[in-house]
């Protein structure tokens, strides 16, 4: 039991990194990137290519992949998302569905459909573990991943709260029109946020490739996990995303104790329970209408928009 809880918390760090980019994009750019999971897979594939194709060390591959993913996010915001956003509510959704399909099939064409893993390239890290008092074993890889997740999310939090760019991001997220009147260039802020979001997706993909396998078509499942963590934790708050990720990890880990098949289902159940609670409290707030309900739903714990 205790061991399952520890494993669940550690797994939560991975889900939090996966979800943080999705949350950031929606909180700042007001844009739901349905290709987020596919971008995570792309990050994994690029890192895998650096390791398998170019023969680089995993650490170097990661150091090269993350900036590359950031640049890709910046470019996609500039070339694709910005234009899609001008088309109203539906166009960005269709655009990212299409982008996801293109990414999946593009990766299939380039890298083949085999499952791939970084597990073989990280030495004994994939199976080594620490024993802590009470006879509990903590896998070193999940431990390091959790630590990295905390550090990375902490760094993004500091970036958003302490730096000039972060303040511009928060101003734009609160009121982009008022921010523009203060001289904040929303396009630059959006591109910066997209760069961070896609780099985070890439990191999550690399995590996945280290702890398990990836295939070009793994993206949609990752998107679902990211969505679940975001909804459980509340959009726009990194702390919420971390809590959401840990809740999802715990649910899956504890669910697996009941039966291996119940693992994912338990996560979905927690997600549905939180969703139902949010919907009901949204309806109870008497704001009515599906728009208001969705707003209540996603901004329940909004850090970017302040007190709600």
């Amino acid at each position: 039991m205790l061991e399952a809880i520890v494993q669940g918390v550690l797994l939560g760090g991975y889900y939090a990194v996966l979800a943080a980019g999705l949350s950031l994009m929606f909180g700042v750019v007001r844009f739901i990137n349905l290709a987020h999971g596919d971008m995570a897979v792309l990050g994994a594939m690029i890192a895998l290519w650096f390791v398998q194709g170019a023969g680089l060390h995993v650490a170097i591959a990661i150091a090269l992949t993350l900036p590359l993913m950031g640049a890709l996010g910046w470019l996609m915001q500039r070339m694709i998302f910005e234009r899609a956003l001008r088309g109203g509510f539906l166009i960005p959704i269709l655009t990212t569905i299409g982008l996801g399909a293109a990414l999946q099939n593009g990766m299939f064409g380039l890298f083949g459909s085999d499952t791939k893993s970084l597990g073989a390239y990280i030495g004994n890290l994939s199976w080594a573990s620490w024993e802590i008092p009470g006879g509990i074993f903590i896998g070193q890889l999940p431990g390091y991943m959790f630590l990295t997740a905390i550090l990375v999310l902490g760094a993004v939090h500091v970036l958003l709260t302490r730096t000039a760019f972060g303040r511009a991001v928060r101003a734009t997220a609160t009121d982009s029109e008022a921010a523009a009147l203060c001289g904040v260039d929303a396009r630059r802020v959006h591109r910066g946020a997209a760069a961070i979001a896609v780099a985070l997706a890439g990191l999550a993909g690399i995590f996945l490739a280290m702890r398990a396998q990836v295939t070009p078509f793994a993206g949609p499942m990752l998107l679902i996990f990211a969505f679940e963590a975001v909804v459980i934790g509340g959009i726009g708050s990194l702390r919420g995303t971390l809590i959401g990720g840990i809740a999802l990890g715990l649910a899956q880990s504890l669910g697996a104790m009941i039966s291996p098949q119940f693992s994912l289902l338990a996560g979905h159940c927690v997600f549905l329970a939180v969703l139902a609670y949010r919907l009901m409290s949204g309806a109870a707030a008497g704001r009515g209408g599906w728009r208001a309900t969705i707003t209540a739903l996603v901004f329940h714990k909004s850090m970017l928009r302040g007190k709600s």
Partner: protein, 246 residues
């Protein structure tokens, strides 16, 4: 500096704005000279705030031209206009909730002036001092009352280092003492060389500051000139009273 320069710092010519079939601005000509303080009055729905939106670049205008310090503003974004020296406040304050008073002003200084962090911090402190908000600097904006939100709105605009500031009904809802403070602040700005355009319903406050008055009604400029003459204008009185004088 005073209102002796003959070249307008801000000039709008033939500005039209329509939302579909609804025409909100009908060929509005408007200008303000360097260092001048101009008031804009008019009944609700006259297009005053829409004119501010058009000047500040909040939305594209249907036709017409706007120049700031001789530069054509056509095609420039609100953020670019801000950095060119045009600041605007909102009638209903729109602070960045979730950020402190200082952060609100700091973002403005940073983005509006393109300042580095040290310079932005200094500018933010200056502006907070000037607007009397220094004691509230670390307060979250969500906790501010109406007066402080209005002051923050002005402070945020000032932090962008503007040469022209557009003030949209910042006096509404204030007590007489608060209003006097506000008038003193705006006068101080103007004597420091800033050009002020002020939309206000509270005429006695407005007339303590402005040297020229523009009256708008139904998307048109009805009359402009000496404040007292404008207010005595029969059409202006008709617009305000809602009927033609007998």
């Amino acid at each position: 500096m005073s209102a002796n320069s003959s070249e307008p710092i801000l000039r709008a010519v033939g500005v039209n704005k329509s939302y579909g079939a609804l025409k909100v601005l009908h060929g509005v000509d408007f200008h303000v000279l360097q260092g001048e303080a101009v008031g804009i009055v008019g009944p609700n729905g006259a297009g005053k705030t829409t004119l501010f939106g058009a000047l500040a670049g909040s939305f594209p205008i249907t036709s017409g031209t706007i120049h700031l310090q001789g530069a054509d503003l056509g095609g420039t974004s609100a953020a670019e206009r801000c950095r060119m020296g045009l600041a605007r406040t909102y009638q209903v304050p729109r602070p960045f909730l979730g950020m402190t008073v200082f952060e609100n002003v700091y973002v403005s200084a940073m983005s509006g002036m393109g300042a580095n962090s040290a310079r932005a911090t200094q500018k933010a402190a200056e502006v907070l001092e000037m607007s009397g908000m220094m004691p509230l600097a670390n307060r979250p904006t969500a906790a501010l009352g109406l007066l402080d939100r209005k002051r923050l709105e002005v402070a945020r605009a000032l932090a962008t280092g503007p040469s022209v500031i557009l003030l949209d009904e910042i006096g509404g809802g204030l007590t007489e003492a608060e209003l006097t403070e506000l008038v003193d602040l705006i006068r101080a700005l103007q004597s420091g060389g800033m050009t002020v355009v002020w939309i206000e319903h509270i005429l006695h406050a407005l007339l303590r500051v402005v040297t020229r008055l523009v009256c708008m009604a139904e998307g048109r400029v009805l009359a402009q000139g000496d404040p007292r003459e404008v207010m005595a204008h029969p059409e202006v009185q008709a617009a305000y009273l809602g009927s033609s004088p007998e």
